[in-house]
C-alpha cells in the first residue's frame, strides 16, 4: 500500500470520483490551472479540462449557489472554499438552500453537493487563514459535516461525501495536508458517513476528538502508555450529525472523558458531545467531563508566541489525560 500525504489523498479521491462519474466536477478559486492554493486539485485541470475543473470568481456565495443549482439538476459538484474562513458569504446558500431543499420540496429535490474547505490553525496564518468553522454549521439539520484525520479516512470519506445524495461540508485541516502521511489503498473504497472510529483501544481515559488533534492524542498516548496510562481514542470523523452510539460507548468504556477541539471552547462541537454523555452516561462517569479547546478569544493571532498560546499544545493534551487518569 502506498504511503501518501493527507492532501494527496484528497487529490486521489477527486480524481477517482471524476473518472468514475461524469457528473462529478470541481469548482472554486484557483482550482483549475493553478491546481488550488494548496495543490489539492493538482493535475485535474490537465486531465479533465476546463469544463469539469472550473475556476470561479472570488465570490463564495456564487460558488455555493452555482454548485447547489447544478446539484439540483443532477450534477455532483465538489465546490472548494479556498479557506473555510471565507465561507461565511456562502452561509446563506448553504444553510437556507442546500440544507433545506430536500425538506422543503418533500424529497422531490436533493442537493448532492460536496463543499470542501481547508480549516484550522497553527500554520502561521493569522486571523483569516486559521479559523475552525464547523460549529457554525453544526446545528443545521440537513447538512453533514465531515472532518477526517488520516489520509485513509480522507479518501474513503471524500468519496462517500461525493456519492452522498445530500449536502456535505468536508473540512480538511490545512496543517495536516503535508504533515500527516499514511497508507492508502489504491483501489476504490468508501467509509460510512456519520460513523466515528476508534483510533486506539484503551482502558483508563477516553479521549474524543477529531481532525488533526487525533494525532496529538496518539502521540500523547504512546508516551503515557509507558507510564501505565492506557488511552481510548474515538475519532468523530463526522462531527454533524454526531455518532451518538459510539460516543456513549466510548464514554462508558472508562468513565473518564476528555473532549478536545481546536475551536473556541464555548458552543463548540465537543460541547454537544459533552451534553450527549451527560444525558446518557451519568452512572458510568467516574470523573467530570473535561474539555480542552482554544480560549474564547476572537481569532488565532498571527505572532508565533500568541499563536502557540491559542493552540492546544501536545503537553497540555498529555497533562489533561494524566490528570484524568490520576483523578
Amino acid at each position: 500500500m502506498a504511503v501518501i500525504s493527507y492532501i494527496e489523498a484528497v487529490t486521489q479521491a477527486l480524481d477517482e470520483e471524476m473518472s468514475r462519474d461524469q457528473n462529478v466536477f470541481v469548482m472554486g478559486e484557483d482550482v483549475g490551472k493553478r491546481g488550488g492554493v494548496f495543490q489539492a486539485t493538482k493535475g485535474l485541470y490537465e486531465k479533465y479540462g476546463e469544463n469539469r475543473v472550473i475556476d470561479t470568481p472570488l465570490a463564495e456565495s456564487a460558488i455555493a449557489g452555482v454548485g447547489i443549482g447544478a446539484a439540483m439538476y443532477g450534477m455532483r459538484p465538489v465546490a472548494e472554499m479556498q479557506f473555510s474562513d471565507f465561507m461565511l458569504p456562502a452561509a446563506n446558500q448553504i444553510i437556507s438552500e442546500a440544507a433545506k431543499t430536500r425538506y422543503r420540496s418533500n424529497n422531490e429535490w436533493t442537493v448532492p453537493i460536496t463543499i470542501r474547505a481547508p480549516f484550522g490553525g497553527g500554520v502561521h496564518g493569522g486571523l483569516y487563514h486559521s479559523q475552525s468553522m464547523e460549529a457554525i454549521f453544526a446545528n443545521v439539520p440537513g447538512l453533514k459535516i465531515v472532518i477526517p484525520s488520516t489520509p485513509y479516512d480522507v479518501k474513503g470519506l471524500l468519496k462517500a461525501s461525493i456519492r452522498d445524495n445530500d449536502p456535505v461540508i468536508f473540512f480538511e485541516h490545512k496543517r495536516a495536508y503535508r504533515l500527516i502521511k499514511g497508507e492508502v489503498p489504491e483501489d476504490d473504497y468508501v467509509l460510512p458517513l456519520g460513523k466515528a472510529d476508534i483510533k486506539r483501544e484503551g482502558r483508563d481515559v477516553t479521549v474524543i476528538t477529531y481532525g488533526l488533534m487525533v494525532h496529538d492524542v496518539l502521540q500523547a498516548a504512546e508516551k503515557l502508555e509507558k507510564e501505565g496510562i492506557s488511552v481510548h481514542l474515538l475519532d468523530l470523523r463526522t462531527v454533524y450529525p454526531l455518532d451518538k452510539d459510539a460516543i456513549i460507548e466510548a464514554a462508558r468504556k472508562t468513565g473518564k472523558v476528555l473532549l478536545m477541539t481546536e475551536d473556541n471552547k464555548e458552543g463548540s462541537v465537543i460541547s454537544e458531545v459533552a451534553a450527549i454523555i451527560a444525558e446518557n452516561c451519568l452512572f458510568d462517569l467516574d470523573a467530570p467531563i473535561r474539555r480542552l479547546a482554544a480560549p474564547d478569544v476572537p481569532a488565532m493571532p498571527y505572532a508565533h508566541p500568541l499563536e502557540q498560546a491559542f493552540m492546544v499544545k501536545p503537553e497540555q493534551v498529555e497533562k489533561e489525560i494524566r490528570d484524568l487518569a490520576e483523578f
Binding site: 492532501i7 494548496f38 495543490q39 481547508p118 500554520v123 502561521h124 496564518g125 487563514h129 490545512k174 496543517r175 495536508y177 503535508r178 504533515l179 482502558r203 483508563d204 472508562t254 468513565g255 473518564k256 451519568l282 452512572f283 458510568d284 462517569l285 467516574d286 470523573a287 490520576e326 483523578f327
Partner: protein, 425 residues
Amino acid sequence: MSVEKMAMPQLGESVTEGTISQWLVAAGDSVNKYDPIAEVTSDKVNAEIPSTFSGVIKELLADEGDTLPVGKPICSIEIEGAQSVVRKPEPSTADGQAADNHSDHDTSMKKRYSPAVLRLAQEHQLDLEKITGSGKYGRITRKDVEGYLAHIPTQAAEKAVTRKAAADHLSMAAQLETAEPAVNRTTAPQNEAGDHIVALTGVRRAIASNLLRSKHEIPHAWTMIEVDVTNLVNYRNQLKNNFLKKEGHKLTYLPFFIKAIVAALKEYPRINSTWAGDRIIEKGSVNISLAVAAEDALYVPVIKHADEQSIKGLALSVDELAAKVRENRLSPEDMQGGTFTVNNTGSFGSIQSQPIINYPQAAILSIESIVKRPVVINNMIAIRDMVNLCMSIDHRVLDGLITGKFLARIKGLLESINSENTPIY
C-alpha cells in the same frame, strides 16, 4: 561571541518541511543579516532563506537535497560581540496558580464518590469503606471498585444472587436476611443547593441509634383502646385548684394514668419484662420511663418504683423530671432502669400514635388527647370525655390476648375513678 542556530523556516501555510536545494554559503563565510544563505523548495514554493543574524557561518547542518521539518536547525552562525543570551523560560502565572491551587486542594477525596462508583457499590452491595482509593487524594475510582470486584468474584456473585433471590421471591426468610445489613449499607442522601445542614448532637445520635435498633430488632405489634374518662375529668376538676394552692404545682391527668398503668403492670408482670434472647425476664421493679419532649430532642427519664408512689407523689415526680429536662439538669441515673414507657402524646394534641418501644423494654403505651365525643351509653347518645390509649408491644414477648387483658384492666381502673376509690395522697 555566541553561536546561534538558523532553523528551517515555514514556507507556506500548509508546509511542514522543506528541501535544501542549494547552499549559497559555506562554512567560514561572513554573512550579514537578511543575506540569502540557501535555496529551499517545498511542494508549494521555491524560496531563498535569509540569514537571521550577522556573523560567520560555523557549520552547515544539512546537505543539499536534504528534507528537514520546519523548525529544525540547518546551520550555525557565530555572532561576534554578542553575548549568548540564554532565555530562561519564566514560569507562566497560570502554571504558578495551578500549583498553588493544587496544595490548597489537598483534602481527602476518600468519601467523594463518582456516580459510577456509587452505582457499582449499590449493584454489588459493597461497603466502600473497605476499598482503598488509588485516585487523587484517596478517591475511590471506578477501576478500584472493578478491581475489588474482580478480586472477590465468587463471593460478590453469590451475594448478588442471594440479594436478587430475596428481591424476586420476597420470602420472609430472605427479607430477614437482608434486614440486618441494611443498617450498615445505607448510603447517606446527598444534599442539594439550598439545603440547610444540621449537625448531629450527641442526643440526636443516641435517639437515632436507639430507635433504629428497636425497630430493627423488635417485631412491633400495635393496638389501641378507647377509654371513657369523664369521671376522671370531673374528679380532677374538683381537685385541681386546691391542689395547686396547697402543693404549688399543677395536678395534671398524667399521674392518674400512671397510677392506673402501674396497678395493671403489677397484675400483669409479663408486660413489665424484657426479651433476653433465650428467655424472658419479668422485672421486679416497676420503673416508668416517661417520654418528655424538649425543643429538638426527646428524653425518657425514669420514675423509679412508681408502684410505691401515690398520685401526689407521681405528680411531683413528673413535675420534677419535666423541670430537669427543661433546665437540662438530667443526670444519667435519671435515665436508667426503666421497665415500661409511658408517652403523653396527648399533650401536643395527638389522638392516635404508633410509638416505638423503648429498647429493651417489652411495651410502650401512649396516652392521647382527651376529647369530648358523642358516645352511645344504654342506647342513648351522651357527650363524654374520651381518650385513646395506644400500645406497641414486643410480639416475641407479648401476644394480643395478654395485651388486651392489660389494656382492659387499665380501662376499668380509669373509668371507675372517683373520690372514694382514688385518693390523691
